[in-house]
Symmetry: C2
Subunit: 148 residues, 2 copies
DNA sequence: TCAAATGTTTTGAAGTTCAAATCAAATATA
DNA sequence: TATATTTGATTTGAACTTCAAAACATTTGA
């Protein structure tokens, strides 16, 4: 009999990678020539209250230098544009092009379908205890200090 | 108010990455010069019923070629050894060296502590509904077809 | 003003992964 | 039994992701 810890461990080690693969393959099938990490960058830009390099990099948990590299290619491919903050011209702000919004919409649709399939299979949609527990787990990690 | 889907989405996109980072940093603090993916390879070897290249690569969801590369460096570093299956000399079997068992023990201890901290914080240890739900979620992804 | 701090980019290196080519051993078939 | 095919693994070259350190630009503070 597995303990809760072992199940959580399994989720962390195996499942996460599998989901990334599934989503990556979906992108390919849909003819979208972006990797999952590029999608994550676009998502972070989309959700950013403050769309500056530092702020987005922090959300993604990568260095600003790494983000610059990613943003360079996304710009080349026409998914984003850069502009300077007029208040502070050191700051580079990023905005999504229409092309990016389209891709995010398509990706969200797939993601929703996948989650929907899970719920259909598991019948957990109305499971209030699960919802509460997951919310707490998510909250826990959200606030967990990322030493740096 | 977030929906269950949004919470799951958050878990998938943000939280798992964060956990990988946390665990990776713990390795560094402990003076272990291995990446999380190398740890995953060692774990897969450790748990393998059939410790052959093909079988381990399949568990990890990577190609056998990629695993060969990983195994080469783990061998260089003295964490594993290779030998041929005497029944079928094409097959290469992998075994862990003591060094690897030590690292896995240390890693497991940290992982347990982390999970323990979560449970202490969340008080979900005896939450049977959560356990059942997580088990089903894990099971779902385990069987999800990885098209290849 | 100019030194320090802050925000970003560039660069070089390391790690991960894949696909394709190659090699080695086992199995099937003529 | 020879040899063609299949199966298991390795090698190689390329792409991608990421980081750290150096460099650059702008702002802020003494």
């Amino acid at each position: 009999m597995q303990t809760t810890k072992e199940i959580i461990n399994e989720l962390l080690v195996e499942i996460f990678n599998r989901i990334l693969t599934i989503e990556g393959e979906a992108l390919k099938r849909q003819g979208i020539k972006l990797s999952m990490s590029e999608i994550h960058v676009l998502e972070a830009i989309n959700n950013a209250k403050d769309p500056s390099m530092t702020s987005i990099a922090q959300k993604l948990g990568i260095t600003v230098g790494s983000l610059t590299v990613a943003v360079n290619t996304l710009f080349q491919k026409g998914y984003i544009r850069r502009y300077h903050d007029e208040e502070d011209r050191r700051r580079v702000l990023i905005a999504l092009e229409d092309k990016a919004f389209q891709v995010l919409r398509t990706h969200d649709e797939f993601h929703d379908k996948m989650i929907h399939a899970i719920f259909e299979d598991l019948k957990v949609e109305e499971d209030e205890v699960l919802v509460q527990s997951l919310r707490r787990v998510a909250g826990f990690f959200k606030d967990y200090p990322v030493s740096e």
